[in-house]
Amino acid sequence: MTPKISHPTVERDTGSQMDRTLGGYTAGFSLSFAITSVLSALLVILKETNKETVFAWMAAATGHHWVTHGLLDLIVFVVLGMVLAKVGGGVRMMANALVATIVGATILSGLIITGFNL
């Protein structure tokens, strides 16, 4: 017999506005991903155009600028996600808006990084 799986933060498909939103952690980490991804892309420009200061500090912090960059991204993603989940950030947004935010942030990050390196 297959056990029934349920999740308390997700509403069921019945057609109401609540059914088109997502739970606290999912919504919070959706926004956290979008913000962190764009910040990470902007950090590329910041460190590459400030070699003597930002880049040098990032290189000195862990021994390699790329390692520091990755650590900062992960810290921001986790901390921001937890905070937004706690305060209910994004839970009132329609799921389609969250999807658009995630897709848009991914495309924007890609354009910032590849555009800067062209």
Partner: protein
């Protein structure tokens, strides 16, 4: 030989992440109560493979890539580093975050929640597209070393 094997593990884990993402995508299209366990397992596999690709590739990049970088920049394809590696090493963070985010979404009740299913489908699509871009960029970087070494031989 170990160093070369480490380098080969990087795209291998990337391909496994792509396959696992397609698995999550297809299972989610057919989400029912009895396949949610498989969806969750596959989503964790995606995250695990991407993290393994990150750690292995990152180790190689930090420890060994400096030599290749000098060879590429002196060769006929300097853009293999200046564009492809510079973009790949930073876009990988977005991919890693997406991979880490996927299990959070996949642990929703996908059989009952259409918004969660939609989100899983989009996140897996982005992971596949970004992973393919990473594989392609890796090919350009490898070719950049190859044409530089060939040019050195005259």
């Amino acid at each position: 030989m170990w160093n070369e094997l480490v380098l080969l593990l990087h795209p291998t884990f990337g391909v496994l992440a792509i396959l696992a993402s397609v698995w999550v995508f297809v299972e989610t299209l057919n989400a029912r109560e009895d396949n949610q366990g498989r969806i969750r397992l596959a989503s964790i596999s995606v995250a695990a493979f991407l993290w393994l690709a990150y750690v292995v590739g990152g180790y190689w990049y930090v420890v060994f890539y400096g030599g290749d970088k000098a060879i590429i920049k002196a060769g006929p394809w300097p853009f293999a580093h200046s564009f492809f590696m510079e973009s790949k090493e930073h876009l990988f963070f977005t991919l890693l975050l997406l991979g880490s985010f996927l299990p959070i979404v996949a642990f929703n009740d996908l059989a009952a929640s259409k918004p969660a299913r939609t989100l899983v489908l989009w996140v897996t699509t982005l992971i596949v597209l970004l992973s393919l871009a990473m594989e392609g960029a890796g090919a350009f970087i490898g070719m950049g070393v190859k044409v530089a070494l060939l040019a050195q031989q005259g």
